[in-house]
Symmetry: C4
Subunit: 454 residues, 4 copies
Amino acid sequence: MSEQDKYSDVESAWLTCKHNHIGDTVTINIAGTQFRTLITTLNKLPLTRLGKLSADFTYIAQPVPNEIYFDRDSMYFRPILNFYRTNILHFPHDLCVPLIRLELEFWGISECDLAPCCQEILENFDILEKEKGKLEKEFNSFKTIKTTHYEGGCESWKQRVWTFLNDPTSSRGAKVWTTFYLLLLFTSIWTVALDSIEGYRVERPVNTSLLKDNLQFSDHQMLYLQKGSHPFLIYADNVVTSLFTLELLVKICVTPDMRGFLKNVFTIIDLLWAVLHWCWFTMYMTIIDTVVNLGSVVPVFLLTFLGMMSLSLRVLRLSRIVCYSSGLQVMILTLKASGKEIGLLILLLLMGSMVFGPLIFYAEMSVSSPNIENIPVGFWWAVVTMTTVGYGDMYPSAVSGYVVGGVCVVLGMVFTGLPISVISANFTKYQAFARSIRSQERKGKTGETGMEVR
Amino acid sequence: MSEQDKYSDVESAWLTCKHNHIGDTVTINIAGTQFRTLITTLNKLPLTRLGKLSADFTYIAQPVPNEIYFDRDSMYFRPILNFYRTNILHFPHDLCVPLIRLELEFWGISECDLAPCCQEILENFDILEKEKGKLEKEFNSFKTIKTTHYEGGCESWKQRVWTFLNDPTSSRGAKVWTTFYLLLLFTSIWTVALDSIEGYRVERPVNTSLLKDNLQFSDHQMLYLQKGSHPFLIYADNVVTSLFTLELLVKICVTPDMRGFLKNVFTIIDLLWAVLHWCWFTMYMTIIDTVVNLGSVVPVFLLTFLGMMSLSLRVLRLSRIVCYSSGLQVMILTLKASGKEIGLLILLLLMGSMVFGPLIFYAEMSVSSPNIENIPVGFWWAVVTMTTVGYGDMYPSAVSGYVVGGVCVVLGMVFTGLPISVISANFTKYQAFARSIRSQERKGKTGETGMEVR
Amino acid sequence: MSEQDKYSDVESAWLTCKHNHIGDTVTINIAGTQFRTLITTLNKLPLTRLGKLSADFTYIAQPVPNEIYFDRDSMYFRPILNFYRTNILHFPHDLCVPLIRLELEFWGISECDLAPCCQEILENFDILEKEKGKLEKEFNSFKTIKTTHYEGGCESWKQRVWTFLNDPTSSRGAKVWTTFYLLLLFTSIWTVALDSIEGYRVERPVNTSLLKDNLQFSDHQMLYLQKGSHPFLIYADNVVTSLFTLELLVKICVTPDMRGFLKNVFTIIDLLWAVLHWCWFTMYMTIIDTVVNLGSVVPVFLLTFLGMMSLSLRVLRLSRIVCYSSGLQVMILTLKASGKEIGLLILLLLMGSMVFGPLIFYAEMSVSSPNIENIPVGFWWAVVTMTTVGYGDMYPSAVSGYVVGGVCVVLGMVFTGLPISVISANFTKYQAFARSIRSQERKGKTGETGMEVR
Amino acid sequence: MSEQDKYSDVESAWLTCKHNHIGDTVTINIAGTQFRTLITTLNKLPLTRLGKLSADFTYIAQPVPNEIYFDRDSMYFRPILNFYRTNILHFPHDLCVPLIRLELEFWGISECDLAPCCQEILENFDILEKEKGKLEKEFNSFKTIKTTHYEGGCESWKQRVWTFLNDPTSSRGAKVWTTFYLLLLFTSIWTVALDSIEGYRVERPVNTSLLKDNLQFSDHQMLYLQKGSHPFLIYADNVVTSLFTLELLVKICVTPDMRGFLKNVFTIIDLLWAVLHWCWFTMYMTIIDTVVNLGSVVPVFLLTFLGMMSLSLRVLRLSRIVCYSSGLQVMILTLKASGKEIGLLILLLLMGSMVFGPLIFYAEMSVSSPNIENIPVGFWWAVVTMTTVGYGDMYPSAVSGYVVGGVCVVLGMVFTGLPISVISANFTKYQAFARSIRSQERKGKTGETGMEVR
């Protein structure tokens, strides 16, 4: 509908009001509040409830002639009546979306007729409700790890052990156990970390020359092959792993729902890790010296690979902390929901490095011995510069390089700033969700008793 | 109007109410809601609709003496009536801007009479609408690259090929093709990247001494002239370029609108690149050795320039990803709209470096062998410091330098933080726009059918 | 209540309005505004005030039959009546929370019946009020350090001295004193700082070889043991400490509330520091040379420990600035309230370093002499990279290391960005709180007189 | 007033409504809308307008007994009436602050009775208005530099020259001139910058040994004393300065308001610079060689000082760009208004460095040759780390140092993040202000004509 049409509507309404008789108006009583309007106004939308009535309203109105009564809220009716007059359907932004929908349905008006700004509000409401629902479900999935499987018909002591091992909030002892468990986890990571320090390793009788000939190991890697792990670290690692294996076995024994337990991602990590670690340990104790002396490629790689897998899995086990920290849960759900923005961030950094990598290489070519020796290294320089890390292993040293570097860092700050600001906004939103979900849960427990009191 | 006047207005209204007769008031019936006010109040603005009526209202009012009826919304009338009383025209902020405009027009009141806070709302509404309209247009321009040119009266198989090559959403095969195309693009960039690594280049018979005498090449540049590209990389690059050239030729054959296609910026890049690459390749294969041996300046520069152009264009071709990622589209439109802020950011960094470059140079003069040897290098140090990149190639080492450095980094953080926060806010706004535009498009398809149902 | 039920409600209301008699409706007069509704609607919630009345309303309504009068606000009644009709209780968001509560209580409706969006508003209001109350208390605790202890019945000159020393706003002299006091504090820190510079220390006759044999001191530590503090610095330090000790003694003499004063955290720091410093100084002057020459471990460690304690305490004394800067007070309260977010930030950095430390070690193993020599050093590299500090003491130099580094920095920016954005939002909120608390205090002083005028 | 009192109020109102006669209520007609309330309710605040009337309202009410009429807005009266009932005075947040004030004044109610949330809104409104007013004034002060001084009764050509030199928007030529002027400014900075590069300087006959004996110049400074500026740079600098001097002289000749012109900060900078430069140049050309050869301290220092002053002033002249970029103007006003936050940022960085400087020194003491050699250097390290610049000139290398570094960087990110987020918010606010001020100016020009049309 064009601006011109609107104006002529306005004009005609005015003319109508000036010359028509009282008989041409109808009074609509909305729960005590009277609205008087022209019948011609109501006729504009003949397929709606009021439009249908406008023809034959006289025999409906009971108390006063020309008056019809509806038991609705006049606050929500006013914008609807104005829609008949102006063809613009706008509800004040502080009205309730479900109530608006209810009224629209009652009066027979489609949501598509809403003004764009109101449609946006309805949409945002729907999106928020959907996101909140999803979040609630995901929060519950974090909890079910602790709380399900209880209903199974198992003996009392099994259930107690299960609760003790899985729910840190169940008792004081369970809390202590969880703390101890997390400490063990950190210990197991630190044994590997300390094992990587050269000074903590011990010499072993190795035929280096043979190994060097057969394999393309770097000097750094050779150094680690020539020396073995310190016996104390191996011992400590075994103690920790034994404890974890024991805990896992106990859990398998007492779980009321074996199937669900084995499907759980944390169980799989634990199980895999235990198997891997003991395999690796057996092999390491028995054949490592022989293997290294023989200098054959495959077993050495296999052992190294097993060791690295064992380590990665013990780092993955850290994810169990997620079950205990609600802040981390919100963070993970935020990252999940911000996949698009993180993708954009990575894409922008990649494209930026594709553009600035070659540029800096060409810009620095005139320098006798530049830090940025080739384009792939330039890609890395661009990433380090755009993220403002700036290690200083590579830096421009010609004037043209300074210019490229300046542009690169400005664009980088913009590129990294924008997606992160969006992800931050998501995080704030999700935190508010989480808070409201938690408070509703609390209310849910007390609300029902309150209902009975009234 | 001063504060004093307002007060006397208030007082006179009160006195009026105390002593005047009922006959001095008029009842205005706005669609059933009655407003009673003093005629003197309405007389204050004699050029508006109500002001004009106030003199001769008696013969208009029909049902009850001293009552006039208007079929308008009472919600929007209340602030207007209050404007007559208080000379302040304020609408609640949750009312609809187009409806406010409609009412102002009806009652004959200018927008300039609105209170400043309301004027701001109207302006922001206009700005948002304008920006949204612009954004919608720009989004469509991204799409038209894919979807236009279809109506041309060309054969069916041509159209099918065209759609296949241009619209990745048209079929499964088109998606695979797009993925393959992007992979090719990356390959073509990597061939150049790998070519820049010294170890991947092969020796060629070059008379270095001659070249060195004639030109001022740096050692690093000489190294690249002495060695040629690896045959495999040249081969791979040619295969990729051939594929692109083929794709371009096919597109030219099947395009239904040759003119529009050739005007398209992506086509121009593709075309230019193909021509440049083949020129460069022909020259490289035939004359490079002769040229390098002869040591004459112009051809060497020409070849190098052609090679660099060929590379830059293949990086520019990466921009084609924009057509496939809506996140990137929003990002580009944000950057376009935030041109002023980016300009401010660059201006601030430039001015900061102009100020802190000389300062750090003088501050570091007392050190025996400072890193910051002269003022132009100080400019670079200031940029690196203000953006918190901090390569470490230059850093202050005197107490005066520490002070300058501290002030520089604090100002830098403020200078870079402010514009980026504004650009981030723009990005969030544009993302919301993009979302609402997309959802309106979706509704647009289903909405019309919904209209008919009612 | 399902969607279906709602709809049937709507339908029945409509049917009722179409066929029932006027006698089935009741008029509720809310301070002059009439609401007419069906008695069946009111019967839906029989335990509320209106529900109870609906049975026997006839004998209550006085002026007009079928009308009951309540002296309440119709604005707040409208949503309540709509709740009877639609089972959704929603108040517009610009209504006042305490008034909403008052009305709910009056009409006998539970807060649990509110729609989720409104419940959130009520909760946020409660949370804000609670936080504001807490903040007000904490602000006052900062102030009480200055203003309490006055009422004690001590002589006039004591009180004057006390006020002079504690409240910088009391007089011009007190302001000068505070400035002088802060300058002294900085001087006392700088004496220690200058003492650590090698060039400012003087030789002392020490039997180094003996000391070296007995203890595992590093070369750097030996250097400090071999040289003594410069006499001038010791002299300056003593002057400053004497002044502080004097101030403390004066304060102890004039304090009106000895107990509260000694419990104050700032007094404890001052006291401890004075004692420590004089102990250390006596020992240092008398026995240091003997001790160092003898090379026995315990006294050397004791002296060093005392010296370090003395320094830490003088840095802690800097916290006294908090009493003078309201910005710092808000900052500290923000950090207190954001404990969870700071914990999350640290947890994320720790977990990130646990994951990326080993990864970068394995990724860099293939390099002959990598910077990242072992996993614990890798943890540090991960922290430096994730926070974008990027010293450059360690950096990846293999392609696999570049990939790990890129992922690490992207995740790091997200990990650090999110909690800091939440803490920033808290800071903004707390600043607004502080502003409103201050303005209320100002009003509180003038408001009461204003009350009397009216 | 306590919660208990409120409740009893509610109860009494209810009891009143149940048992009292109709005669105890009064009807207040607010411009057609009727409010009926108990006289006892109005009696609660006897000193207000309604309270005073409640005793003797019968003889005022004219049309109907027990009804008083006021020509006010019922929207603003409703909360006021509710205040009589509940003792809580709350206005919906979308009402207009000036109108609320007008109504409060009319009904004789003090602003102090408002609920805290509403008081905050009124205060924020006042603060915003004040800030906006201040901003408008400051914006105008930027403009007056260009536009004042015109009214003086000077000849036409003088005015034309003046406008040409000062207002770049006045004509096309003025724009070109401004661009040329800014280019000159950059040139004049670059001449100094290039002069600092060693390779661009020329040898001069200097008796170095003599100078070295007399003064404590560093090697770096000696290098600059031994070599003189390149003649071309001196020539270029003189040309540029001559042009600036000429422009200044022309301005002085044509200025219509000599006094205001000479008081202007930009004029003072220009004048000072011109004088300084020519002094320095004369001295440099005549006596520099003699002075350096003689090796006397004072003249060398004087010459160096003059040269440095000349440079700083030419950098200060860059501030003239502020007159041309509205973005910069907003930035400067933001920084002015955020003085408190910038102070907090600097204070936090200072305190952080005071704490972490000594900590890192002690933590690194066990390393044989640490980078962080003493505490003052540790202060610098702390600043570089907290701002995430991370040059890498100093970095921890012991485990205890890693821990201190980690804590330092986390706290630093929080410390720098919070004030900058507040300053960013200020910047956004000021940008919105600037936009609205500019649009009001535009309206101001067209608005008045619009007034006449109506």
